[in-house]
Amino acid sequence: MSFPLLTATAVLPAIGAVATAAVPAAQRTAAKWLALLVSLATLALAITVLVRFDPNGGRYQLTESHAWIADFGVRYELGVDGIAVALIALTALLIPFIVLAGWHDADPLETGSRRWRPTQGFFALILAVEAMVIISFEATDVFLFYIFFEAMLIPMYFLIGGFGDRAHEHGEEAASTQRSYAAVKFLLYNLVGGLIMLAAVIGLYVVAGNFSLQEIAQARANGSLHMATSTERWLFLGFFFAFAVKAPLWPLHTWLPNAMQESTAPVAVLITAVVDKVGTFAMLRFCLQLFPEASKWATPVILVLALVSIVYGALLAVGQRDIKRLVAYASISHFGFIIMGIFAMTSQGQSGATLYMVNHGISTAAWMLLAGFLISRRGSRLIADYGGVQKVAPVLAGTFLIGTLATLSLPGLAPFVSEFLVLVGTFTRYPAIGIIGTFGIVLAALYALVLYQRTMTGPVKPEVSAMPDLRVRELLVVAPLIVLLIFLGVYPKPVTDIVNPAVKSTLSDVHKTDPKPEVEAVAK
């Protein structure tokens, strides 16, 4: 038996989490280093997965399969396709930066404060989330996926509720209240989604008799498993609802701004760049493969909701006064693009959507972490409290500008590639929706540049005048992300090469082919 690479990739951070939690209370720094090392080792494993994965090989590779709960046909089944590989790589890539960016976020507050901040716990929870996210990307057994999809909520709940920003305009007491509100809201939304999905998972078992994604998909494809139209639709809705909450799709989005606003910047990145991706990923893997007909049936409504997300998220981002809320609404707009790309059911749309998940992860990480550095310097999240930072901290402002430009999808940076693919993919099948989606790029420029203008330019505000520029640790976090943004913007081929075959098989699941151009004579 070969080395269980996928299991190792998920188990390593889990062991790391336990080990980090077990570091004695006095040795805070050791815990941080341990977490960083574990996350780097996980990254190494993820890169191994990336290298061992053959884009042109079988659909699911590096598979592992063991009996688990035999009575219910639950198996421990892992396997990755190109989409999963890309997202595992993204997750493993971002966690070290999140750890590094949050280096001091869980330090104990100044002496005299009653609040105790368990440093070890913070990093252990981050690693625990990583482990669960990775195994969710790997699971090809619906039940296995479901368990970790839900279990992820527990560490996330504590990360949101337990560790907020250091400074808060209304004092520690109010901050604590708002934090627990945000954490509970996060938990409730996702639990409701998860419960509905649980019903659908059970329903699927009743219909299919097992939980194996591949078996069910195969049985459905060759006709040996018949599903009544209405059954399929109900089950689809159950799955989709949970993923739409997680993604989040309008109008199930309101937990995200609260959660991102109240948590520290690295945790906010963890939410939007890593955990939320499980939702959109699962739409591609489970909704489309298990319920192809229902997916097509629901497409018009979902596309409209995605469109609403794009425009609505962008407009709300324009109206925000809080930096982190602004980023959160921007993310909602971006998730609209991802979902639009998935349900456009074209290869450009879905490849673009997968690429978008990766690029959005990187760009939001860069943007949000920089916003976090900014906030930690001034001790305020309000946009109006800043001004003229560019003059005082040019490197911070310059890198923040690149993050801003990535958010508004400037060509040459990675997000442009994916956004354009999504738009083109949507346009070829649904021109009107593609055109309205294009309005999103104007609105994105508006919210992103307004934020940049109000915080970074103009006369220097007195409170800002002593602001230090980026420190070495912070630069170490930001610089690689920016390099990646530029690299993937100029040469996205490595990612598209991995993703394209997987998208092709996903499309064949739903029996869709790309629309043909009007003038077919123009072959290259």
């Binding site: 989005h253 709300l316 925000q320 294009t438 420029a445 081929k493 598209t496 151009p517 009007e518």
Partner: protein
Amino acid sequence: MENLIALLVAAPLLGAAVLLCGGRRLDAVGHWIGTLMSTASFVFGVILFADLLGKNAEHRTLIQHLWTWIPVESFQADVTFRLDQLSMTFVLLITGVGSLIHLYSVGYMEHDERRRRFFGYLNLFLAAMLLLVLADNYLLLYVGWEGVGLASYLLIGFWQHKPSAATAAKKAFLVNRVGDMGLSIAIMLMFATFGTFAFGPVLGHATDASEGKLTAIALMLLLAACGKSAQVPLQSWLGDAMEGPTPVSALIHAATMVTAGVYLIVRSGAIFNAAPDAQLVVTVVGAVTLLFGAIVGCAKDDIKKALAGSTMSQIGYMVLAAGLGPIGYVFAIMHLVTHGFFKAGLFLGAGSVMHGMNDEVDMRKYGGLRKYMPVTFITFGLGYLAIIGFPGLSGFFSKDKIIEAAFAKGGTEGWILGACALVGAAITAFYMTRVMLMTFFGEERWKNQPTRSPEAPSAEPAAEHQGEHAEPHPHESPKVMTIPMIVLAFGSVFAGFFFNLGDRFLHWLEPVTGHSEGDSPLSAATVTGATMVCLVIGVGIAYAMYGRRPVPSVAPRGSLLTRAARRDLLQDDFNHVVLVRGGEHLTRSLVYVDHTLVDGVVNGTAASVGGLSGRMRKLQNGFARSYAVSMFGGAAVLVAATLLMRAV
């Protein structure tokens, strides 16, 4: 030879990367690195030009494939460069004028502590602009298209400690984004129609597609062109863009970037030729803008804004010509090149004047400067003669051709467009004469009148004078600034004559753009005569108003039209009321809706569950007897139910 093409882009790109990432160590030499990279690019351009000249007219297209950019099934975007006569013309203009302006900026930005960064941005602009004109497919063109937008954003907002500059930069980017939206929709339409967006197949098979599709593509391209080239209705950003340093206005907002829209239309000629409705719209946009810009230019007292109005108007000419189809493509590009020379020269002259006048931009506070700045006066004067179309200078040749072509369009349209172009020529003569007279002639209104320093207190030598209300001491600019002005003045004088000698320019571009002679209802001599009459009228009125009478140093109230023109014909007010205010209200109400309605539904559910349980809680009152009642009640109900079931 093909391999040199990438170097054209790579040199300034490398310069930008080095300058922007290099940090303070490079402060001392940064400006020379920037100038060197720009010049290097120009040298490569000249080498390639010589190579092209040595080939047959049909073989003057070089293609360099670098790498596959975005491959997703049938969607194949490559990084491929195409150098043909059209892009060659642009390469020489961009790198040539660009290098001169780099040189000028060495002097102009001498006292700015962020000069290194300024040159970094300038190099970035050059790289993006060259990418724009060298791209072999529309998506790569789009990269350059937005890249120049970014460079423009950075440079307009270069003095970003001034809120007005930061706002102007943002506005420019946003308005341009609206145009970019048009370009991206056009690319999507092309992909849906042709299955590709590379120049060769799309333009080669343009006629195979239905006219409706082509019209849609063409209109979207026009929208893009309107954004980038400041054409009505997306012109509002150009005036504000004058917040940037003057070399930027000269390079980006006069000579090169704003003409990208014309390039796009001429490049996509095959599509426009097959979509006559779209062509008509293009000509209308051009005609409206050329009048609009000219009228705005007449009313501005800010020398740069007057020139900005003029730029808008001149690009209106080019767009008009481009809309005429094969009759006008070549002349659009010819005017574009000559305009690049004289307008860049004019802007550099304006910068030189400002340099000597403590950065005063109000022409009402100038006057009589010809004695103090002879070189500036002469170069500016030559640029002035060129732009109004003084016979023999470059503007004369290129503009005259456009007016002829407009008449040659034929029919009522031809007459209307031609008339617009003629009126525009008269107004051009008027406002340029006004600028000239107010700046270099008349009494010295700056004496005994301290100037304020609106532009960049820290960046300019004005910093020293500020606060003491010193009287300006007009002086000539240093050599490093005057030499580029002299070179550009040369171009303004001779370029038109040279291009027209034996229809050289026409033969050069014809293989790419195609050319046809329209049948004009008027002879060429008649058109030239009419143009001359317009010119004389315009100059005459301006002289009567500003040359013979003293210019008041505070602007008079003016007529309704003047006041409207001062405010950019109320376009900004419209934008402000409808888009800005409306947008603010929309976002604010959406924030409210999100909080109360969307979130409210969820919170409401939670609250009602909470309320229900609160009421249920009251039942648990702790009285054993009330529990007993419910027990008995429950038992009774159960018994009753059992009996009832049995009875049924």
